[in-house]
Amino acid sequence: MPNASPLKLSDGTRLSDLINLETREVKMRTLSDPELYELEMRRIFARTWILLGHESEIPNKGDFVTRDMGSDSVLVARDRDNEIHVSLNVCPHRGMKISTLDVGNTNVHVCIYHGWAFKPNGDFIGAPVEKECMHGKMLPKEELGLKKARVSLYGGLIFATWNVDGPSLEEFFGDAKYYFDTLFLRTAAGMEVLGPPQRFRIRANWKTACEQSAADGFHTLTLHRWLGEVGPYAKKPDAEGKGADLTPEMYGSEVWTDHGHALRCIDLDRKIRRITGKDPAELTPAEKLTLLPPPGIIKEMVPELLERFDEGQLKLMSWRPPQVGGFFPNGLFEFIYLPQPDGTVVGAMALHAYVPKGPDKLEFVNWIFAEKDTPPELKARMLRQSCQLLGTSGMVEQDDSDTWPHQTVVANGAVSRDITLKYQAMFEEGAPAGWPGPGHVGDGFTKDDTQWAWWKYWYELMTAEN
């Protein structure tokens, strides 16, 4: 078999038996197999860039938070020179967790077990009773520091990887960067978290959440049907689809990349027409951005957007802005426009990480953001809307977190595990006329291409040599 993958599980199954690149199918066994899970931790989570948080979570020198890179706990710390470092949260002496806290401030991280001490950058300082040289004389101090990850900041977001010599974060983003810039690099002051992230555990395989994050628009129609029944989308004019019909919201453009990043660029024309009564075709991007500013932006901030972005990006932001999408492997962004009962729109800005906690468990981490320049009253409204609709108690996302466990449970069935997930609804139209951005683009009703791209990159990493 020419395309057979070299990766073979202990029962002889090859990875190429589980994913069919021709028919775009993935066997459910991928969602439950413990052996595959172990390989994912090494081949994906120890190799790609992982989202860990935002620099505004640790604004002062010495501030730190503990986070997870796949199955490994890490310290994310700001040093005296204001530089952010990510180090394995494991003492190289006897393997105790260096910090058992969620958050704190210190310039010396001391292991509570035997007192080995480390700087925020992971460097070894020393062990107690220096004259006894309790770190031994076999290794120099330089070799006794915490294992350091490579760190890259983007729009204040903290990414890290163990793949020290691999591609840069920018290379990893690839064509998605053009679009990410319109979300994360909108103002000179930058974004800020409105507090620590919500965290909760779901008995589901991490990939159930992550393949959905790769821009599954279709599920919204059914799983989030309530949005059109009594929720924010219930009171639309009939011309846009009656009552519970969310179909018109499913149109737009979708973008996918060779590294599994995906974006849903949802059309704003209807919203602009409804709010302003004007024909969007007759408005310039600047006018549209002023009439309906992006989440977290008010009209007074629009001139800054006009200065920072080129014509193409401004066109995108005012026509079909990326509203939901995923960072491979386990991140999701939401920059959504929420209709209010009074006819106005309030934005929400959130990022999720779905941290694997075993083959059948994940931790949902939800950060809620605004721009630093967003006026305080609007920040407060954005925060409340986000808490009410997204994350732990979110009226939208509680339906997602109740779905993934069922997929995970059935994936364990002796027969069910050979059932395939199908990604066979394909875009038949490429980028719409005048599309400004790069990447693979599909136009029209939401399709499966973005999610299939996610799986293809998963497969590529899982079968890559070394």
């Binding site: 058992t100 806290l101 969620d102 958050v103 704190g104 978290v193 409105l194 507090g195 620590p196 992230p197 919500q198 965290r199 909760f200 555990r201 779901i202 008995r203 589901a204 059914t222 799983l223 989030h224 049907r225 309530w226 029944e229 009594v230 929720g231 519970a244 931790e363 950060w367 809620i368 305080p376 009253e377 920040k379 407060a380 925060l383 409340r384 808490c387 009410q388 994350g391 732990t392 108690s393 979110g394 009226m395 996302e397 509680q398 339906d399 977190s401 109740d402 779905t403 466990p405 069922h406």
Partner: protein
Amino acid sequence: MEKNLLEPTPLPPSVRTNRLAIGSPVYNEILEFLIDEAEMLDQLRLNEWRETLDKDLEYNLPLRLTRPTRELAQSVVRTVQHMHDDYGSISLRVMRVMDTKSAWGEDPPSRTRRLVTNLRVYKTEKENEYKVQSYLLVTRSRFDFDDFDLIPCERHDVIRKVGDTYKLSRREIIVDQAVIGTPNLGIFF
């Protein structure tokens, strides 16, 4: 201090000298109110429950962080919270469950049991308002799962006497978990 718009209005303090004796008439009435409330919520009589909420309701469920003993107060986070609701948004939550056929996160509904204990009632500066603290253990069973999700918490309420009845005007739910162990908070506390 400047009001942090991200946080809810601070609760009135629980003043020891203003505490009502266990078994006193108002204490008993409030205990009855909370026990009836638990019954309504366990039986999914959510529209009836909504009637017990006052229109100025603030309903919050802060985050918890694992922090050292000396930083205990900072283990409760009131900016980003798990729930941050008012009467309007709680009403929408109720409508979602009661008036749609698509609230999948709670349809079919969880089977829940709310055990209310350790009740303390304090007079406040307002004649008809009481600061009320109670422990609550919620057990939650979903689908055919053989395990229970447990949500132990302490509630800090402001309960107001309105005519012959009581209404809930403030509720802050302090959960014990920094990482919530149930897949969503689609239920009420």
